[in-house]
């Protein structure tokens, strides 16, 4: 079972306590966005075989949203971090680089 550390309440939460919230760090598209970009925003989710960043909610715990960095093949968790950021913290990126040199995800690497 997937276990994620909630960066707010400090609990190591089982998957059954959490609800998945999809791709992290989405840039929202507003009115006037060209069709291409709007399509990308609505439908073209990151779906990598490897390093992935996503949102989770500690639904049956403290209720807070947070971020997680995880490998979609091995299920290894590289770390979790608070929701109030627009990109992954350097420390997490460095940790991933240590384990998966050359990784990239969306605009990050």
């Amino acid at each position: 079972m997937l276990i994620l550390h909630c960066p707010y309440c400090g609990v190591d939460a089982d998957e059954t306590e959490l609800s998945p919230g999809g791709e992290a760090h989405l840039k929202r598209a507003g009115p006037g966005t060209p069709d291409d970009a709007f399509e990308r925003y609505l439908f073209h989710r990151e779906n990598p075989k490897g390093v992935h960043f996503e949102r989770w909610r500690h639904a049956s715990g403290c209720g807070k949203w947070f971020h997680a960095a995880r490998c979609t093949v091995t299920m290894e968790v590289f770390g979790t971090y608070p929701a109030q950021v627009t990109e992954p913290p350097q420390e997490i990126c460095d940790r991933i680089t240590g384990k998966r040199p050359g990784w990239s995800w969306g605009a990050f690497s």
Binding site: M1, L2, E15, T16, S19, P20, G22, D35, D36, E39, R40, L42, F43, H44, R45, N47, P48, K49, H52, E54, T72, V73, M75
Partner: protein, 414 residues
């Protein structure tokens, strides 16, 4: 190819089974094919078969990174039905179901199609309304389904507990000509027929790159060398995003693990397929006597072919409530497959931004039933550039907001 028949069995019985041919060849890849299909699952193989049979395109290779049918085609719970809500879906799924009726004869390979009937239980008022609506839509589409009451459910499947504590059975959407087939046999039967037409089914050959020139496909790079092609069909289910990226475009698809499990074999106890969408579980009995049980999909992207453990518990809990007699049953095996989910829960059969590259994906949790129909339509699309069966399923529907929304209609979409 020597034909299989009762006579052939008798003949071989008399000479110690020494005269059977290999069912399909294992050729060395050539430098070039007119058409290359990536993925030897049911959809890829069926596409190749109908390219040859309906359109005379036979210089075809089907490249498979693992083994024949080792993806979702060999991992599913084999439910075949066509009781969808939208017209475009009903058309392709019913075409497919009707092709299954005669597939064994067509392929000269027993795919064990068993139209034993599929019943989708209504356990809430909302489901009653939803399934009545589907039954009406199906009547207009020419798909034979009907809404039946709880007594009829009990007659058709005596082991169901119709007045369960939480969700009594209030009725069901019944498709008498739905059923099951042997999944491996579908892959093997198509592979044998493709091989007999001179096509190359090449296993252990992973595509690692897609080559283009001036926006047009020229071939693929594989673990067994480069292979040139005129047209390329990508039919790789859960890995569609990975292969599309090699060709340089994005798909509105996310990959998750979906699970199934089977019990120890028991005496025959149910001869229909039952799906219970509210409590989330479905079950049928295989010819070997195992209860075949379909579980839930993970809620987050992954490629593990395993699935989360707690889904098993949820599924089994739901089924024990619906079928109390299975509470002491031992489970034998559990597994997962990586399914390709689209936002509207409908497939994509489409041209792509790269000329000569076509994609068939997004069948998600429910594409086994669609294998013959999808192959039929996709082959026509690849050969002629358009097909009435696939017209609505283009990639552009997302940008244009023309969804074929089956997410509500289909409930548990298997």
């Amino acid at each position: 190819m020597k034909r299989y028949s009762a006579f052939a069995i008798a003949r071989e019985a008399l000479r110690g089974h020494t005269g059977w041919d290999r069912a399909w060849g294992s050729p060395q890849p050539k430098d070039r094919y007119d058409v290359v299909i990536i993925g030897a699952g049911g959809h890829g193989l069926a596409t190749a078969y109908y390219l040859g049979k309906n359109h005379g395109v036979k210089n075809v290779a089907i490249l498979e990174k693992g083994w024949l049918g080792g993806g979702n085609t060999g991992r599913n719970t084999t439910i075949i039905r066509s009781n969808y809500l939208q017209d475009a879906s009903a058309a392709i799924y019913e075409k497919s179901r009707s092709l299954y009726e005669t597939l064994s004869q067509d392929l000269n390979y027993n795919v064990m199609f068993s139209p034993r009937g599929v019943m989708m239980l209504a356990q809430t008022q909302h489901e009653i309304r939803g399934y009545r609506r589907t039954a009406h839509a199906n009547a207009l589409q020419g798909v034979a389904t009907e809404f039946i009451g709880p007594q009829r459910v009990k007659e058709l499947c005596p082991i169901i507990n119709i007045d369960g504590p939480r969700y009594p059975v209030l009725g069901a959407l019944w498709q008498p000509r739905g059923g099951t087939a042997r999944h491996d046999a579908v892959a093997w039967g198509y592979a044998r027929a493709c091989s007999a037409m001179g096509m190359h089914v090449i296993q252990k050959c992973e595509v690692t790159g897609v080559k283009t020139e001036g926006g047009k496909v020229t071939g693929v790079a594989t673990t067994r060398g480069d292979i040139a092609c005129g047209k390329l069909g990508i039919v790789v289910a859960g890995h569609s995003g990975v292969v599309a990226e090699m060709a340089g475009f994005r798909l509105p698809v996310e990959s998750v693990a979906l699970q199934a499990l089977v019990s120890e074999p028991i005496k025959p106890c149910m001869d229909v397929v039952v799906m219970a969408n509210t409590v989330h579980g479905y079950m049928s009995q295989s010819d070997k006597g195992e209860m075949v049980i379909g579980g839930g999909a993970d809620g987050y992207n992954n490629y593990t072919q395993r699935g989360s453990f707690h889904h098993i518990e949820e599924t089994v809990r739901a089924l024990v409530e619906t079928f109390p007699m299975i509470s002491r049953l031992k489970m034998l095996r559990q597994w997962g497959g990586i399914v390709d989910m689209t936002g509207d829960r409908s497939p994509i059969l489409s041209k792509t931004p790269v000329e000569g590259v076509f994609i068939n994906c997004g069948w998600g949790t429910g594409g086994f039933k669609a294998i013959p129909g999808s192959g039929w339509g996709f082959a026509e699309l690849m050969a002629k550039g358009a097909s009435p069966l696939t017209a609505e399923f283009g990639l552009e529907r997302f940008r244009e907001g023309r969804f074929i929304d089956e997410s509500v209609a289909a409930g548990v979409a298997h």
